[in-house]
């Protein structure tokens, strides 16, 4: 409900000088609570009941193609750059958090409390700014789909017929290719695909472009889906009662060492393939969505997938 207009916070600016950043609070007489707050900050450090959460615990790895004995070797070379990003769309695991937090501490030390895209960019070779420029995901997806359609159908249509039509298509495609290749170092186009895990009703989305290799992707997915039980905060426990997180904990219990999961993806042609067979870039251009499948369901699948891949590799030149 919209409440009525409330009173505004008092804070006269006329007493505050522009240059004096940190002195602002003590000079501004209309903020009486400031000192009280500062005192509170110091005293109350130990006074909160924080849910003690420990990371770690048992979790299963997600198997990819290279875990299966196969004719085709998975060519996924780990990238050299570190994985810390300025947004949480690709979450880093606890083992790599030490590196990301140290780069952030470095950034904090060097730039005061400034933590912006520039300092993160300095820390990594591939800087990632998610959600900028602020274009709705709906529009981005539409434009990418449009680009793909024009790229494939446009060339297949009768281009030799109409002059203006071909010039439109050509102009369109040059625009498209630069749209799909993110040339800019700072701004990167996101490629979000849905990920579902067997047994969990709520799917997630992962930004494929935030990962440079299969290893990174697998790590992110493991963090997202398999490490959740130890982190459940008490409010989340209440959510368990609502049944939303129920399946999640059940699955995690099943995972304690014994049963493993397999990572599969649906490609442009609608086939479900085992992740890891093709070079990473090829994978990026063909993946439509991901599914973390129970190995028991996938064992029937894998040999056939490999067979089909063998045939494809022989007939196609990648």
């Amino acid at each position: 409900m919209q409440g009525g207009g409330g009173g505004s916070e008092s804070g006269s600016m006329s007493t505050v000088s522009r240059e004096d950043n940190m002195v602002m609070s003590s000079e501004d007489s209309s903020c009486p609570d400031e000192s009280e707050l500062e005192l509170g900050l110091g005293l109350s450090l130990g006074g909160f009941k924080m849910h003690q959460v420990s990371r770690g615990g048992h979790y299963a790895r997600i198997l990819t193609a290279k875990d299966f004995p196969s004719v085709i070797s998975a060519s996924s070379s780990p990238s050299s750059s570190s994985s810390s990003s300025s947004s949480s769309s690709s979450s880093s695991s606890s083992s790599s958090s030490s590196s990301s937090s140290s780069s952030l501490r470095r950034a904090n030390v060097t730039a005061g409390t400034k933590r912006n895209a520039d300092s993160v960019a300095a820390a990594n070779s591939s800087s990632q700014v998610v959600g900028w420029p602020p274009i709705r995901a709906y529009r981005m997806n539409s434009m990418v789909n449009q680009a793909k359609n024009q790229a494939t159908e446009g060339f297949n249509s009768t281009m030799e017929n109409h002059k203006s039509e071909t010039s439109t298509v050509e102009k369109g495609t040059t625009g498209i290719s630069s749209y799909q290749n993110s040339g800019n170092a700072k701004l990167r186009k996101s490629l979000f695909v849905k990920v579902n895990m067997d047994g969990i009703p709520i799917g997630r989305k992962v930004d494929m472009n935030a990962h440079e290799s299969y290893e990174k992707l697998a790590k992110t997915l493991e963090d997202m889906f398999l490490k959740t039980t130890p982190n459940v905060n008490p409010a989340g426990l209440r959510a368990l009662k609502l049944g939303m997180m129920n399946k999640l904990t059940r699955s995690s219990k099943l995972l304690d060492g014994s049963s493993d999961f397999v990572l599969t993806y649906e490609d442009k042609e609608g086939d479900w393939m085992l992740v890891g067979d093709v070079p990473w870039k090829v994978f990026l251009s063909s993946v439509k969505r991901l599914r973390i499948m129970r190995t028991s369901e996938a064992t029937g699948l894998a040999p056939r997938l490999h067979e089909r891949n063998c045939q494809r590799q022989r007939s196609k030149h990648i």
Binding site: M1, G7, E9, S10, G11, M13, V16, R18, N21, S25, D33, E34, L37, S44, F48, M50, H51, V53, S87, S89, S97, S100, R105, G112, T113, R115, N116, A117, V130, G131, W132, P134, I135, Y138, S142, Q146, Q150, S157, T158, E165, T168, V169, G175, S178, G183, N184, K186, L187, G203, R204, K205, D207, D223, N231, V232, N233, A235, G236, R238, A239
Partner: protein, 587 residues
Amino acid sequence: MPRRLASSLSDEVLEHVFSFIQSDKDRNVVSAVCKSWYEIERWCRRKIFVGNCYAVSPKMVIRRFPQVRSIELKGKPHFADFNLVPDGWGGYVLQWITEMAGAYPWLDEIRLKRMVVTDESLELIAKSFKDFKVLVLASCEGFSTDGLAAIAASCKNLRELDLRESEVDDSSVHWLSHFPETYTSMVSLNISCLGSGEVSFSALERLVSRCPNLRSLKLNRAVPLDKTANILRLAPQLVEFSTCTYSAELRSDVFSNLAGAFSNCKELRSLSGFWDVVPDYLPAIYSVCSRLTSLNLSYATIQSPDLIKLASHCPSLQHLLVLDYTEDSGLEALASNSKDLQELRVFPSDPFDAEPNASLTEQGLVAVSLGCPKLQSVLYFCRRMSNAALVTIAQNRPNLTRFRLCIIEPKTADYLTGEPFGVGFGAIVEHCKDLIRLSLSGLLTDCVFEYIGKYAKKLEMLSVAFAGDSDLGLHHVLSGCESLRKLEIRDCPFGDKALLTNAAKLETMRSLWMSSCSVSFEACKLLSQKMPRLNVEVIDERGPPDSRPENYTVDKLYIYRSVAGPRFDMPPFVWTKDEDLALRLSP
């Protein structure tokens, strides 16, 4: 005196008087006059708007307003549109639907924005509300065509089904066929977000042909051109229409069929869609152009000359959405042709390329500001800007109410002077006294925030990115902007001091979003402790924030006022202070 007056009028008379008062603000004022007015008003309020679904609980709404017919709920914060809110954060509507199913059997309108809607929720709506009329799901997700089938099959009096920009899973159910043959009430249908497999043409045609009151039809891209003409001929009374895919080659028979179909549509005022449009087909719509008030070409990759030609046929345009292919020349033509223009949105065709691929600069916007006296609402993506241009715009268009500028590269300076944009945006807020929404971009110091705090007294929503030097910037805004309701900030060096100093202000606002700023978890805990009616949510997928060093800054922060207390559906990556842990766990 008021008390005597209040008691002298009977309840029935008051209720009748109140029925003319529609706006929420006025209704809230009415309910505050005295106890008896509060009571009368709450029994006769029919429409509820909840701007943040976690600000109040469904039980509380039902308790106060027992006879609601129409509800509007918003879930995720605005930055969820740009993928800044991780999946699973929240915004589930099921609890609301469940409670309302029991309490409001006569509920006939549900409008949701940025919420997670499951098939279960849709099925519950379908079977709980006998006279259900309006379902709007804007930027929602979590449901499939199964849920839509349930709605189609059960809601005999459905007038409006609008799925704008939602994500719908394809369950391969021909849901459109679930509308019974006896169903004829559709007035507005928006299925433009659906994928190719999800709409059966024959079912669609049958539906359109038996709904004589159909006024607004927005189809999805998969409906081909020849089908478009058929559908238009079945519904010449349409006021709003979204076209579908134009095929790649021009065929004269298809063209003339289409042109003929459009010429029948005398009531058509709004056109959108235009996916993959080939310019040679555009003349098919010329017959309706002179009456068009709204045109959305923002998915059409047509170039400037064709756009100029098209615009010259549309003198009555009030709303135009377009890509930067229109270029400055296109906007100049628009400025001279469309004197009724109220709203302009220019989107980038290629936002990730450092080099501009279309000749669109600040000049286009200046031209429109100078030429269109009724211009009120602007959303403009461009690659360069100058303070001089902003000052010109501000001085010529003091009637601007919404000004959203996105200079694509963060921290870009004034291309003429190399200066930051304090002066330019300062002019905007100083001259445009009725400005209610502002989005900043480009190189910005604390200076711009001082202007905003000083002048933007009617500002309700402010979006800030990659701007400011210190906490002072945030302090200016929080202490100066009296009407501020929503503030969203990313990648700015704003931290604890400004937040804690202005803690009380936050309770007068709907919400504050800060991501990649400099707020510590300690400050969040402190704020949460001091302000029990604020929910302070730290969204951090990297792990528990309190296990990190003290000066570690949180990844994302979402603060909103609430009378419902902390929510119970928080995912593991949302962290709050947890004082009454024991209380919450008790059944």
